[in-house]
Amino acid sequence: MKTEHTPHGSEPPPTAQLLEVSGLSVTFRNGVRSGGGPRRAVRGVDLRLAAGQAMAVVGPSGSGKSVTASALIGLVPGPAVVEGSVRFDGRELLHLSDRELSRIRGRRIGMVFQDPLTALNPVIPVGRQIAEAVRLHRTTTRKEAREEAVRLLDRVGIPSAARRAGAFPHEFSGGMRQRAAIAMAIAGGPELLIADEPTSALDTTVQAQILHLLDSLRADTGCALLMITHDLGVVARSCDRIAVMRDGALVQQGEVARLLAAESAPDGELGELLTATRQLARPRPTGPRPLVSAPDVLRVEALRRDYPARGLPGAGRRDGVRAVDGVSFTVAEGRALALLGESGSGKTTVLREIMGLRPPQAGRVEVLGHDLATLDRADRYALRRRMQLVFQDPSSSLDPLMTVADLIGEPLALEGEPAEARGRRVAELLDLVELEQAVARARPGRLSGGQRQRVAIARALATRPRLLLLDEPVSALDAPLRAGVMDLLDRLRGELGLAYVLVSHDVHLVRRCADDVAVLYRGRLVEHGPTAAALNRPRHPYTRALVDAALSTDPHTERHRRRVLLPEDSTTPTTGGTGCAFRPRCPLFTDLDPGSRRLCAERDPSPSRGLHPSRDPSPSREPHPPRPDATAWTAACHHTAHSAVVPAATAPTLRP
């Protein structure tokens, strides 16, 4: 065993360590997957974790943090050599046989994976999978194990657990699936829980619930937590210690309360990460652009889109799935509007409806003054050039077999532009997005995520569009790369006079980059107004919950604020429903008297101006509107007046 050393941070007393990792290295053997020779994914990692403690391992993608986690319990994916030492409760784990390790996995160390859909067996009911875990660690009858599984499901917060135990994983929502996976991990009553990005695939409000669940489990059972994550907000909220990895090595570790504190500015890898994250969370220094009477580039009025609900249980025969219903907004030249919402909110459907250039099912969409309902073929062709889409994940929106030059030049090639002119324009565009000319010959696989997204932006700009639709443009990137891409987009908007529609689930990002925000919930526009006002003093309870669920990197703020946790609503929004769609999850609704509740249940709230404009926190910063619809601040709630009564969940205060 190597002598222990910790690069940074204070050393806890050497006794009572639950987990001691020293010199852990993982080398993937020469094989197809490692792409050539042997590859060291983890190099000499030292970690120590005391009983009951929560430690976070953070790092950019590819830093080896996940491999480290799986190496601890001998489940490295693929053929690999694992060296070093992993001592758990004083016992060396690395050279145990599969049989011996299987007595530790699940019973003493539980593991939660990032994507619960691929981590659960798709063809076995959830309850039976949990019962199997129970039976592995306790001698019980089948019946007792089943009952215990239901108790566990109930413990992790799955409503009507007895009934849901018979459901299959695909019948659960993402959050419910992760709850079930956690139930499975704690079935053996482990002393250590390893969670590998347990909330990365989930919505922010669901993430808040899952983190809350993990906290309460730790409080109940006193188990330690090793959390792999890339999100410093999660670390600030739930962990005591932090370890930072880069290129397979552990480069920094220490106390969360000290390192992440608002006034601290650590150096090294963590410093970079922290600066980038704080930068993104800070409102844009320039403030919203002054409104001159710029022409509208995009007008959407009462847009509606249903999908057939065939085969969806709980839906009547004639009901459709309501994807978008009555959404209206306008975007003027040079302005950026954000569509903010979680998965299933219909924000992507709105984009698709605009991008498709087809007549909408109901309502009206006007792009650059052209009504989509009356477009002919030639108009549609001409409009395509003027409006472009940037996708979320550039590694899938760029054809991996084409070179960057071909990718950027493709829209031009489609217009029949000769190769020479195309080459010149590609060079120009590469300059515009701050990429080197040499990149032109590369294929996207060789570029970094940030470079790839720049290529995607360059491609979108090739035809000199006036409107860019940005679908979560940075959420696939690591935090340090996000700021760069967002700055680029900001700059381009100013230089080229572009209008943006930005689709995002990230409150921080929207606050930083958008002039106006439209908050969507289940296809309905719940709040719409200037970003600074709507996100700093939200009127609608859903907006408030979204803002509340967004995590800051300051451990002090994160640990001392009151949280409003939304319950989950796992029904499908059908066209048959009446009343406010947010009602089942609404924290306001539960506090209302029966009469007011009836209003929520029976009448669909329509967007209305705020009743108490005086409550607006920053009237001075809200520009005076030249047209009423440009900045009108509306919220679709019957009880916006009430909302002020409920203790405000203010935006996280961020001190630089």
């Binding site: 299987s102 299959f168 065939r310 799935v321």
Partner: protein
């Protein structure tokens, strides 16, 4: 691993409350059956049309020396219905099928009677061969996947390549050649080389069964080996996919040993794609049965088909095609059933 949400519902969180199998399940099965029966008819029709265009049942008559009078030829043409257009002939033939009337051969024999006899022979042979092939193929494939890259896996790959390179009609002969020394060494026919039973031998009870089995052994092997080699390659690939999957790691993370995780969780998932493959390729494997019957002198449907083609007899070809098509449909329905057992998502999800 699988994308569960169809594109139309993307973005809409489609979460189902658990409930009993929806009423759509039975309807779905019926629709699949209708689809398959349609395929059945279309395949038979195609075979009938192709045969009618290609065959000239009067050629032999015309070629006789001395040439028969034109009236004789016309009479034969009339008896065979050659004057009618092909679709009408097909419909005429089809109309008889539900009553067990499959028309007559060129030489004037009832097809129906012989059909049932030959049918039994073929089904017996092919069923035994296929069952053996599936069991062998799946077992070998799984084993190879678990031994990925080791000598036994490589040997098995090599062996399966060679077996798949040997035509079935050669395989039968080769099996005979390999077995011949054993028969000679034993001084008696341990296993027989041709026919279903020993002609003339009047066995009863166990002796009769033993006699049949000794005839069945080699042809079954000849049918089974190539199929087993084929299935084993695919089963190996399917199992390798599963072995690399997250849920198997998750199953081990909750405390299952590797072997337990593979047996309890892995195998079932790895079998799912195989069932579909089985349904798709069943028809292709039937060809092997045709060859085997000829090589081992069994009077089954395959043998009859070859004879029908040599005699240029469209009715026989159509009848055998219908038989094949019905077998394929049955195999498909069986596959649907097994799939629903293995993968409850199919039962629960909508159509």
């Amino acid at each position: 691993m699988t994308s569960l949400s169809p594109p139309r519902a993307a973005g809409v969180r489609a979460v189902a409350a658990p409930s009993g199998p929806p009423a759509g399940a039975a309807g779905r099965l019926l629709r699949r059956l209708a689809w398959r029966l349609g395929l059945c008819l279309a395949a038979t029709f195609t075979a009938y049309v192709l045969a009618s265009i290609s065959f000239d049942p009067l050629a032999e008559l015309r070629g006789q020396q001395p040439p028969p009078p034109q009236a004789v030829i016309d009479a034969q043409a009339q008896r065979l219905g050659l004057d009618d257009p092909v679709p009408q002939r097909f419909l005429g033939w089809l109309a008889g099928v539900p009553h067990g009337d499959f028309g007559e051969t060129v030489t004037g024999q009832e097809i129906g009677d012989e059909l049932w006899r030959r049918c039994g022979t073929s089904v017996r042979l092919f069923l035994a061969g296929s069952l053996l092939a599936i069991v062998l193929g799946v077992a070998i494939g799984l084993w190879n996947a678990l031994r990925d890259g080791r000598p036994s896996d490589r040997m098995s790959l090599f062996a399966s390549l060679i077996i798949l390179a040997v035509p079935v009609f050669v395989l039968g002969t080769v099996l005979k050649m390999l077995w011949l020394p054993l028969n000679e060494a034993a001084g008696t026919q341990l296993l027989y080389f041709s026919a279903e039973t020993t002609p003339g031998a009047d066995h009863t009870g166990w002796a009769a069964i033993g006699d049949r089995l000794r005839h069945l052994a080699l042809p079954t092997l000849a049918i089974a080996l190539p199929q087993a080699a084929f299935y084993s390659r695919y089963q190996r690939a399917a199992m390798l996919d599963v072995l690399g999957s997250d849920f198997l790691r998750a199953a081990r993370a909750k405390g299952l040993r590797h072997r337990q995780a593979v047996l309890r969780h892995g195998v079932r998932i790895a079998l799912i794609p195989m069932v579909t493959l089985f349904a798709f390729t069943f028809g292709l494997h039937l060809t092997g049965g045709v060859f085997t019957e000829r090589v081992f002198g069994w009077n089954g449907m395959g043998d009859w088909l070859l004879r029908g083609i040599q005699d240029e007899d469209a009715n026989i070809v159509a009848s055998v095609t219908l038989f094949i098509a019905v077998l394929v449909v049955l195999a498909g329905m069986l596959a649907d059933g097994v799939l629903a057992l293995l993968d409850p998502r199919i039962r629960r999800a909508g159509p």
